[in-house]
Point group: C2
Chain length 126, copies 2
């Protein structure tokens, strides 16, 4: 597996584990220039993003990852990561499909931050 694929996989595991446990802990993954578009609603900056995530209308949440795709996004080590999977909120037994796209950029300290983040529920086409 290429390096960027390993990084993508580790990132996705860490991201959703943290999201599903305590989403306020995601703040260090974002920066002032980071962008989130959550169901068409945009915001920018680590604080605004985590505020938005905190205020989503569910407390209990579980992400079940089905697929992870990754590609290098620029010559400086950026990576685009595309996830599809299922989302379970509260006591709801029927999962919803979702897709989430990230662009990770190197943070200059041997790690990465999230520059782009786009989340969408995917409704059955039929």
């Amino acid at each position: 597996m290429a390096d960027f694929e390993n990084i993508a996989k580790q990132f996705v595991e860490y991201y959703y584990k943290t999201f599903d446990t305590d989403r306020t802990q995601l703040q260090p993954l974002y920066r002032d220039e980071s962008m989130l578009t959550f169901e068409a609603s945009p915001c920018q900056g680590a604080m605004a993003i985590v505020d938005k995530l905190k205020n989503l209308p569910f407390q209990k949440v579980e992400h079940q990852v089905a697929t992870i795709d990754a590609q290098p996004s620029n010559p400086s080590g950026g990576i685009v990561v595309i996830v599809s999977g299922a989302l379970l909120v509260e006591e709801e037994r029927r999962p919803m499909s979702y897709t989430q796209t990230f662009q990770l950029l190197p943070d200059g300290a041997n790690s990465y931050f999230i520059f782009n983040d786009v989340f969408r529920l995917v409704y059955p086409a039929a």
Copy 2:
């Protein structure tokens, strides 16, 4: 609507109109460094990508776009574009959900080329 959102919208319209009419005409949108990951199968370069698209196991195809999201991806004018929608192939009446993520980069001639392209069918979670 911000500039990058207009560009994303125009790109998406052009891309699927061309795909659904004659996908070989997509070649000018890709370059040698372009990457496509189609249902987890990766390839690189305009010729290889269009070859892959040409050889997909359907002739007649229709993309119905449901959502388009876009964000700037770098300071040089790159744009990430995330599409979700439905795909109808051949005479099949039941559409399949899909998601496709692009990164567009400026081509230096007032237009854009596709640097990243990741396509996934999304199966109902329930």
